[in-house]
Symmetry: C2
Subunit: 208 residues, 2 copies
């Protein structure tokens, strides 16, 4: 299928994880780790100089985080496949990453062999998902609510900090009625009916 080994770049802010991943691909004839970056910014720079075929990357990073990094990576290197490798499996992250066209979304508890397979699959143009993730997506497809709008999230953020409608209104320079309207929409979109549940839902989906 391929004469040259897959050129792999690792992106993760934890040295432990970087080294762990590097070690996992050690000694494989068909995969070579050509770079390891600690954040999105570094990843972009290294991608330019090392031209990886596949990038394994964490979503939560300093400087330039996952989704942004993926977008700019794709823009600069359309042929490069990105596999997200993260600890979390929040819906928000997953769907936003998938929207960016990633080649895979794996959890960090993925065993060695599966990682190998994932990288090969991605290099060959395929897609891979951790079973847990796939499950989440299935569950989500049936009653997927749209995400709250930016303005609505702004309101929700203040609510999460303990503000009342009045206070939110003052802070955002809008009327209290508007705050309530935003909140009503947030509730509908998150499928909840109290502010408390709304903030939890938003946090779980990675919106806050």
């Amino acid at each position: 299928m391929r004469e040259h080994p897959v050129r792999l770049m690792i992106v993760d802010d934890h040295p432990v994880v970087r080294d762990g991943l590097r070690g996992m691909f050690d000694g494989l004839p068909d995969i070579t780790v050509v770079a390891a970056a600690a954040d999105g910014r570094e990843a972009l720079a290294l991608a330019r100089s090392t031209e990886p075929d596949v990038v394994l990357m964490d979503l939560r990073m300093p400087n330039l985080d996952g989704v942004g990094a993926i977008r700019r990576l794709h823009a600069a290197h359309p042929a490069t496949k990105v596999i997200v490798l993260t600890t979390y499996d929040t819906d928000g992250d997953v769907s936003r990453a998938l929207a960016e066209g990633v080649a895979g979304y794996l959890l960090k508890d993925t065993p060695r062999e599966e990682l190998h397979r994932a990288v090969r699959t991605a290099a060959a143009g395929g897609r891979v998902l951790s079973p847990a993730i796939a499950g989440h997506l299935m569950a989500g497809k049936n009653q997927r609510q749209k995400d709250p709008s930016p303005r609505e999230l702004e309101v929700l953020r203040l609510i999460a900090k303990g503000a009342g409608n009045k206070e939110v209104a003052r802070t955002l320079l809008i009327s209290e009625t508007t705050v309530k309207t935003h909140l009503k929409h947030v509730f509908a979109k998150l499928g909840v009916e109290t502010r408390a549940a709304a903030v939890v839902a938003a946090i779980e989906r990675g919106l806050l």
Copy 2:
């Protein structure tokens, strides 16, 4: 100081991290990795057979998680030092771990050399904290509120799921008045004044 190498056990449910850590201690003359476990249960078993001097372990694990594992480890092997190594730095986790008498609390973005130093320090009977953690503790000491009681948290959990006072009362088989009282205490202990802020605070402190 010590004639024999430090016997180190690694406990983490992520293969990536396990291998990463193992690699980081490779080739050190004074530290030997004698075991690696995927959860608390396994850790206890391996501790008995391998008698490690120091244990590096994650807090969030399946089967038997951090705090429980630490407690039982200490009970069975009082001389064994435990260093918590985790991604999170939530107050709740930190204080509960410290209460268990751990020898250290490090974040996973700790560089290699610091990890080495930490293990040596722990083996010698010392204590180590990530700077970020140390900061948190300082901040906490000045205005530390007590954590909510188990019952109070039970109420808060239901609130987080969107229940109203009435519903909580029915679920817990107590009166609505009692629910409000619990909540009032929760607010005071978390330093907030709305349910929404309370659930966020609780989540941030790792109480939910």
